[in-house]
Assembly symmetry: C2
Homo-oligomer: 523 residues x 2
């Protein structure tokens, strides 16, 4: 019966696409990245487009959808292995990692994704289906670049949907200049206002980026070259993207040069406030004038070391607010009365409640934007990835305070929490950011949908592709022009100098001879 | 009775602003620039904002408005002088100008505008009114920068509305990088794909820009320093702008790095198609299967030298289409039957008519966008200013052909016109551009209105101001960092070298001595 249902649903989809819309292939990224992308896909599906996502059969959040089509492909690892890998990433954040351990962790994850990608690309049946399906465009989260390889292979115009790429590769691939003097490098935890030593640091990170990037993407580059049967670099693949949907805006990110094919859709994940369930509503109402605090370290942290958990619990007991703590691990024995431990919480709806005074978060981009949308000051405990950068951005705007998860003590947490709740400037700053962020001509979800449809309708956006892509490094920096002009200038200077010298000599000689002649005469 | 009406209308405006909106001061630029800006102002007025424009009492198109308030200030020249100056600009385009004459023309115009600006700034009564009025923001066309001086004086956040500034000053003032290798300089008539000699030309123009800009804006810079009682540069004044509304988009302009506070509103002037008047409708219908051609060189050309006019008339006679020629000068005696000379024509409505086959235009940005909106291939006869650049952009997209107004012969015109009408590729290309241009998430007029309101609501847009403004030239280019790192590298190399040398010497000496000792022993 499931097969019949699948067939009927596929038929309905094909009919809808024929009547109303286009066909979109989707290569998503697992984890929280998927959540906001799914919103765009559902909206596209509602508008009558046929949407087909290809996902590995063992994944964290990538599951079949009630609306659009999901095609799974087999991978050589199990669901348990995936869950474990993500959990390990979360747990490792609470330990001081040696470089070799960190490197092993990253290698393990990229190995998993490369392996998934290799299995997708070598799945003959699926690939044939994709080729025969005649999609209008491909949408992807390119952070681990299986999508760009597939786009190149299927010759499809692509839309990227993302928070950022390692080594500022997003801005390199779009030919957007990034002056190191005020554009902080990814994962540097720097702001746009840097003192001299910070500028030196940013410069050195920028200097080492090509090598780091090469190492990080080496496996994918090999896979791409092997599969496409020609030598390609990852930057070359990325530079083919038609439109880049960036999951942030300049209320959050530091203003910097951008390109016309970059579209900023920060806050796309902020949902309309929904009414709270009775259980939550009751606790919120009982919190009285002090209100509540929302605390979540995201879905990737299920267990916190007990010592750390007890320190956190102790700190939470020092504030008069009721704290909702989303935590699936073992409850610390010193859990104070004002802390409600929950396995899950309606994060956005709680943040949107007028009684919410603060948000303790790991600083994932989705959470930070929910904090901004609802104007809740934050205490940030960044764990990994872009979370340090996100925390820096919120803190440098005076809208929150950052704690070092490894070094923070109970009193650090308590002080930070009290500060963001009681010092009015944090609320004022986040309110200002929120007002700026929400004052936009079009909702980011509609903007994202428009640009995906644009690429589907026009088979790309070649009019937004800068001519810089057709220049080599020497030409781009006008080094050949400078060399030519320098040569011309030097040559003309040399000739002028020689002419002058010649004239002078003649004049002197003449004078000398005349002088001699006069002398001879006078004798 | 007029006074009573003015008072009542002022009262109504104040009440409306109190109830619904903000207060906007406007410093417009005369000429065609005014036409699209007025559309934004009228929409803002409709939305309940109080809009006050300050204009000189002798002007070409800046007239009192039925909706928003216009405050005039006296200037020391007459209406006739203004009309004559603009006419001269139009007429001069048909003559080969010597550099000195061109320079005199430009000087004359900038003198007129500087004088108007000086009179505005020294109008004590008006200035007091402006200071007392507590505006929320100031909107201006900054090409001749009286507005930026006023904005600085009144400490108002500003919105710029414009097509471009001389010497790429717009991109310099916003800190947007403009690589000379693929970003053609203003007024260079170059495209984004340049051969080596063109890149040399673009580089040299870029090199000479600071001097040219200094000379062009010298008078305004002096006026600004005098009025603000401190030394200011024009770039410094421009860099204060909160939001830049650019009257073009990347269907027309070449893609290049931009900044987050630049908003692209190309096509803002394209109106909804209105039904044609009976006279025009009758002629269009009578044109049969061949359709019509629309021909206008803009409002600034009233008279064309008779020889040129006769050549044009002769060329127009060679096509089977009916030609509407907007021309206020003396009709050439050889005017063919298929050419209808009119003093005025509903340009957008005619271009929107399905029978329209081609558009002969001087390439003003408004006209070009009407051509793009309505997908009509163009023959461009650029006269001055940005029109050469505009023509280059249309031609390089294969959507039109450019003629040199000084050198074109009757057969050149005829050939170009026949080509754009009969060669399908021109229609296909302009149709593609039109489709891309019109496929946007929000109408440019609404986008412009949103951003003006944004600046009014938030008293600027400081979150979009890049930190680059706080760096000096050496810091921006990281020259201090590079020098520091070079010094450290050299020093460490030198120390390592010295150490090595020292070690070697010791080693050699020891060996030498040991050698000697061995030798001595062996003897």
């Amino acid at each position: 019966r499931l097969d019949l249902w699948t067939s009927v649903s596929a038929l309905v989809n094909t009919w809808r696409a024929f009547m109303y819309g286009g066909k979109l292939l989707v290569v998503p990224q697992d984890g929280s990245h998927w959540l906001s992308m799914r919103m765009v896909l559902e909206k596209l599906w509602e508008k009558g487009h046929e949407v087909v996502a290809v996902v590995p059969d063992a994944a964290l959040l990538l599951k079949s959808s009630q609306s659009f089509t999901v095609k799974t492909y087999p991978v050589p690892y199990t669901q348990e292995f995936v869950d474990e890998s993500y959990q390990k990433l979360g747990q490792n954040s609470f330990e001081t990692l040696t470089f070799s351990l960190l490197f092993r962790n990253i290698t393990e994850l990229t190995n998993m994704f490369t392996s998934a990608c290799r299995h997708l690309l070598s799945d003959k049946e699926l690939m044939k289906y994709l080729q025969d399906s005649k999609f209008d465009a491909i949408m992807m989260d390119p952070v681990l670049p299986c999508g760009p390889i597939l786009a190149e292979y299927l010759s499809l115009p692509s839309v990227y949907f993302m928070r950022g790429l390692p080594c500022t590769l997003d801005y390199k691939a779009t030919q957007s200049p990034s002056p190191v003097s005020y554009v902080p490098k990814t994962l540097s935890s720097l702001s746009d206002h840097m003192a001299f030593p910070e500028r030196v640091k940013n410069f050195l990170i920028g200097f080492s980026e090509p090598l780091l990037c090469h190492l990080f993407y080496l496996k994918f580059e090999r896979l791409a070259s092997e599969f496409l049967q020609r030598d390609v670099t990852i930057q070359e693949l990325f530079s083919q993207a038609s439109v880049w949907l960036m999951r942030y805006d300049f209320v959050f990110e530091y203003p910097r040069p951008i390109m016309p094919n970059m579209v900023y859709i920060g806050g796309i994940n902020c949902l309309q406030k929904q009414p709270l369930s009775k259980e939550f509503e009751a606790v919120v109402n009982a919190s009285g004038e002090h209100g509540i605090v929302v605390f979540s370290l995201g879905s990737m942290v299920s267990e916190i070391p007990m010592k750390k958990a007890m320190e956190i619990a102790e700190a939470l007991g020092t504030v008069p607010q009721t704290v909702f703590w989303r935590y699936t691990g073992k409850a610390p024995p010193n859990l104070p009365k004002n802390v409600k431990l929950v396995k899950w919480l309606p994060q956005n709806d709680l943040l949107a409640h007028p009684k919410t005074r603060a948000f303790i978060t790991h600083g994932g981009s989705h959470g930070v934007y929910e904090g901004i949308c609802n104007a809740v000051p934050m205490v940030l405990m960044p764990l990994f990835g872009d979370q340090m950068d996100n925390a820096k951005r919120v803190e440098s705007r005076g809208a929150g305070l950052t704690l070092n998860i490894l070094e923070m003590t109970s009193s650090d947490i308590s002080n930070a929490l009290k500060a963001v709740i009681n010092d009015k400037k944090y609320k004022e700053n986040i309110q200002r950011l929120s007002d700026l962020h929400l004052d936009r001509p079009i909702h980011p979800l509609d903007l994202a949908v428009h640009w995906v449809e644009f690429v589907m309708r026009h088979k790309g956006a070649p009019h937004l592709r800068p001519a810089a892509h057709d220049l080599n490094w020497v030409q781009y920096h006008s080094l050949d022009v400078i060399a030519f002009l320098a040569a011309v200038t030097l040559l003309s200077l040399f000739i002028s100098f020689k002419c002058c010298l010649c004239c002078c000599r003649r004049f002197c000689c003449k004078k000398g001879r005349t002088g001699k002649a006069t002398k001879a005469k006078s004798h």
